[in-house]
Amino acid sequence: MEKSKEWPLWEVFIRSKQGLNHKHVGSLRASDATMAIDNARDVYTRRSEGISIWVVPSNNITASDPSDEDSLFEPANSKVYRHPTFYDVPDGISHM
């Protein structure tokens, strides 16, 4: 019962400058989303590390299972043809 009085955990994502993705920087506790943004500002951007903040309740994140790593990600390794270096380009051809 005591437990429910505790503030939930939030994951914090920060865009460090215009043009870049939001990046996960850590977590914190807050009672609501507004407070989570405020706290993230004070905890994670004291040295102008960001211009935009996302907060997500930690328990809303679904993660892939590390034991599925092989089946999820290894098949992509064999598809070398997705990478430009797979292809031979004759000497003298540029801008490709």
């Binding site: 429910s4 503030w7 920087v25 850590g26 977590s27 506790r29 609501d32 004291r46 993660a63």
Partner: protein, 315 residues
């Protein structure tokens, strides 16, 4: 059957570590690795937070506006460090409130340096310079620690630490070059913090129980004595630059070994302070417990408010 599985998992785990692949929260890890990390990270977090108190003691008495702002920003950073580290511990399943309660009940430890009192303004110099200096020495190798969230937290912490030591050294420089009272104040602070700073690296290797396993797991990269020696080697010349005296008559440059020799550490004092008999152990833990108790109604109110709003929304 289970046993064989675990052995195999453990081998795979160690191979990953040997190849410098980071371990992430959901990855399989031996229970002992998890417990060791939880203990180390939460002790580290407690040290950051308890560490706010000795310096916090002088914020209201800082001698000018610039020093007041700098010290305040520095102590605030330590709160941030505590938070990053509690977050890292939470990724291992350590509940922050439980961890903090362990500190308040005396079950969990923190760096014993913070059980010494800060008696003069010069202590702000000595703490920033020596204590943060020693902490940086400990923390830089931790940026390469095998556990991802801990390593990432340490990278952030180390970036922020760099100004802490400098502001401390700046205070010392001012004092050492100032009036006689100021110079005396500086020497006195150095005298009181020198040995406790050396003790910050922990018991000597011969008496350190966790070192070997922790090095194998790459939670630790250097032994306590190696780090302590590095600290002495960089700090002694700084003391000389300040024109102060090293409070250890045995400190001498050793030409053969290419490093400074130093005198024996009073390990009895160390164990006394760790065991609760330092000058401020009780005050430090009491202050943290009081902050939590005084804040309990605030934390509850905010949660009650959120719950009310949420139920209004869904109604």
């Amino acid at each position: 059957m289970m046993e064989i599985d675990n052995k195999e998992l453990e081998n795979k785990f160690q191979q990953k570590i040997d190849r410098d692949i980071k371990i992430e929260p959901n990855d399989w890890m031996p229970d002992a690795y998890r417990t060791t990390l939880i203990r180390q990270i939460s002790q580290h977090a407690h040290s950051e937070v308890v560490g706010m108190l000795p310096e916090g003691n002088w914020i209201t008495r800082a001698p000018n506006l610039r020093r007041k702002a700098v010290l305040l920003a520095k102590v605030q950073d330590e709160a941030g460090h505590g938070l990053y580290l509690y977050s890292a511990a939470e990724t291992l399943g350590a509940d922050r409130e439980q961890t903090i309660d362990d500190l308040h009940s005396g079950k969990a430890k923190y760096s014993s340096i913070f059980n010494y009192p800060t008696l003069t303004w010069a202590d702000m110099g000595a703490v920033g310079w020596l204590v943060d200096g020693a902490a940086i020495m400990n923390q830089v190798p931790l940026c390469r620690c095998s556990y991802g969230p801990y390593a990432r937290a340490m990278i952030r912490v180390c970036k922020e630490e760099s100004f802490h030591q400098r502001q401390g050294f700046e205070i010392m420089t001012k004092l050492a070059g100032g009036a006689i009272e100021q110079k005396e104040m500086a020497q006195d602070a150095l005298n009181r913090f020198w040995w406790p700073a050396l003790m910050m690296f922990g018991p000597s290797d011969a008496d350190s129980s966790h070192t070997e396993q922790s090095m194998k797991w790459k939670i630790k990269r250097h032994t306590n004595d190696e780090l302590r020696q590095m600290f002495v080697d960089v700090t002694v010349p700084q003391i000389e630059t300040l024109g102060l005296t090293v409070p250890d008559p045995d400190v001498k440059w050793n030409e053969v070994k290419g490093r400074y020799d130093y005198g024996p550490i009073d390990w009895d004092e160390f164990w006394q302070v760790v065991g609760g008999n330092g000058p401020c152990n009780k005050e430090r833990v009491d202050a943290r417990r009081k902050a939590k108790e005084d804040g309990k109604w605030v934390v509850e109110a905010a949660m009650a408010f959120t719950n009310k709003r949420n139920s209004k929304k869904s109604a």
